[in-house]
C-alpha cells in the first residue's frame, strides 16, 4: 500500500475509534438516568464514571487523529442510532435501554478484554509505529490538542499528543490498559477509578466489589453493592421520535433534548477541529443542560402505552434553524 493510502487507513481507523467511543455514550447515559438513585446509587456512580471516561477517550483519540494530520468528523451522517452493532460481525448490540441484568451483560461483553476491540487498538498502534518509521507522521497543528483543563472527575488524564510515545500512551489509555502497562487490562481495586471498564461492570453484574487479592478472572468477593433492578424507570427501549405524538409533552421534551444534543455535537466538533475552548460551552451548556430534560422524559408515561412505559430521548440530529457553515 502506498504511504498515502496507509496514512488514510490510519485516519480512517482513528475516525472509527471516535465513532466507537461516541456510540457508547448514549446507552450508558440512558442506563444511568433510568436508575432510581436511592436503591442503585453505587451502581449508577460506577456506570457514570465509565461514561465520563468514554468522553475522555473520545478526546484522546481526537488528539491522536489531529496529531497525525487527520480531521475529526461528527455529524448527522455518522450519528449513531440504536440498536447498534458496535463492530461489524460482532454479536454485541447496544440499545438505549433501562438498567437491567441483560444490559449490564451487554456492557460487559462490549468491554471484554482480549477481543476484537483490543485487537483493533493494537492494530492502530502498529500502524502508528510503522508509519512513524517511514514518514513525518506527526504534522498536526498543536493548537488542536486538548489538555486536562477540559476533563475532571475521572481516573485518567487527557494527554496532548505530539509524537509516537504520546500517541501510543493515549491509545493504551483508551484500550483500557491503564498507562501503558502492557496487554492486560488494568485490574486495580485499590484505585477503582483506574480499573478497566470491564471490571466495573462485572462488579455490578455480581453485586460485589473486587478486592485487591481477588483473581480477576473470577467473580469478585468484596463488599456487596446494593442493586435493585426494579428501582428503574420503565423507559421504552430504542425509542423513535415518531413514537411521540406530535405536539405532546414527550415530543416537545424530545425536541428540546435533541436540539441541545445537536448543538452540543456541533460545538464538540468545533472543539475537536481547532477550537478547544468551545468544549466548555458544549459541556456546561449542552451536556449539563440536557440531563434534566432526559430525566423528565423518563418520569413521563407514554400516553396509551400498554406496558406503562415512560419516555426516553431519541438522540437525533435536529437543527431548529439553519445556521449555515
Amino acid at each position: 500500500m502506498a504511504k498515502k493510502d496507509k496514512r488514510s487507513a490510519l485516519h480512517a481507523a482513528l475516525q472509527t475509534a471516535i465513532e466507537l467511543e461516541w456510540s457508547t455514550i448514549p446507552p450508558y447515559m440512558v442506563t444511568v438516568l433510568s436508575m432510581k438513585l436511592t436503591a442503585n446509587r453505587q451502581a449508577a456512580n460506577l456506570i457514570r464514571g465509565v461514561m465520563m471516561e468514554e468522553m475522555m477517550h473520545l478526546a484522546l483519540v481526537a488528539n491522536v487523529l489531529n496529531a497525525v494530520g487527520g480531521t475529526v468528523h461528527i455529524g448527522a451522517d455518522n450519528l449513531p442510532s440504536y440498536p447498534r452493532k458496535l463492530f461489524k460481525g460482532r454479536s454485541v448490540e447496544m440499545d438505549l435501554a433501562p438498567f437491567s441484568k441483560k444490559n449490564i451483560e451487554t456492557f460487559m461483553k462490549f468491554e471484554q478484554p482480549k477481543t476484537t476491540i483490543t485487537e483493533f487498538y493494537a492494530g492502530i498502534i502498529e500502524m502508528l509505529e510503522e508509519l512513524n518509521k517511514s514518514m513525518t507522521l506527526f504534522t498536526g497543528d498543536p493548537t488542536y490538542q486538548l489538555y486536562d483543563d477540559y476533563y475532571w472527575g475521572g481516573g485518567s488524564q487527557i494527554i496532548p499528543v505530539t509524537d509516537l510515545d504520546s500517541a501510543k500512551k493515549a491509545i493504551e489509555i483508551v484500550a483500557g490498559n491503564g498507562e501503558g502497562a502492557g496487554a492486560n487490562p488494568s485490574f486495580t481495586p485499590d484505585t477503582p477509578l483506574r480499573m478497566a471498564h470491564y471490571y466495573r461492570f462485572a462488579e455490578i453484574h455480581y453485586g460485589r466489589r473486587y478486592k485487591p487479592t481477588d483473581n480477576p478472572s473470577k467473580p469478585p468477593t468484596g463488599e456487596e453493592i446494593p442493586i435493585d433492578y426494579k428501582a428503574v424507570h420503565p423507559i421504552k427501549v430504542n425509542p423513535k421520535a415518531s413514537g411521540y405524538k406530535a405536539g405532546s409533552k414527550l415530543a416537545k421534551l424530545n425536541d428540546a433534548f435533541n436540539s441541545r444534543y445537536t448543538m452540543m455535537l456541533r460545538q464538540l466538533l468545533q472543539a475537536l477541529t481547532g477550537e478547544p475552548k468551545v468544549l466548555y460551552t458544549a459541556i456546561m451548556n449542552g451536556m449539563h443542560g440536557s440531563t434534566s430534560t432526559a430525566l423528565e422524559m423518563m418520569e413521563t408515561p407514554i400516553p396509551g402505552d400498554r406496558e406503562g412505559r415512560t419516555g426516553c430521548p431519541t438522540f437525533d440530529w435536529l437543527d431548529k434553524a439553519v445556521i449555515g457553515k
Binding site: 456541533r266 475552548k277 460551552t281
Partner: protein, 160 residues
Amino acid sequence: MYETKARHPLSPPTPDPLPQTVYESMWSMFLAIGEMWLLKDDPQPYRLRFRTFLENRIALHPLYAGYYLSTALLIDDLTAQADADAAWQLIFFNRNPLNLEFNPSLLEAVQTHVADEFIARRVALGSFADFGAEAYQGYMAAGANLRNEPPHYRKAEGLK
C-alpha cells in the same frame, strides 16, 4: 446535579427558533463589532456559541425575542434609508447623521439589550486580545492551574 436549566416560566422547553433573517441580522451585527473596532480576531469560530447565547437569552427572558426582532427591523430601515454602515454608526456610536425619525427609546433598548450585550459577549469570546491582554472576565480557555501548563493570564516576572 440534574437540575433544569434556568428558564423563564413563559418559555417553552425548546425555544422557537428565531426567523432565519433575524438570526442572520444579529450575526451581522456581531460581525460589525469587529469592523467598527478594527478587531483582528476571526469571528467565525464564535458562531455556534453566539447561537447558544441568543437561545439562552430568550429562554431566560422571552422579551429578548422581541428585542432581536425590533433590532433587525431597525437595521433594515436604516440600511434601506442609507446603508449598513450608517446603521452601525448610529447603534454603536449614537450618531444620527441622516436625521432619521426613529423612536429614541427604541434605540436605547437596542443599545442596552442587544448591542451592549453583543459587545460584552464578543469581547469576552476573544476580541479583548487586540488590546494586549491574555485573559478577560468571561473568557473561557484552557485556564486550569496545571503544573505543566499554568493558566493563560500574563504572569509577573522577577517576583520570588
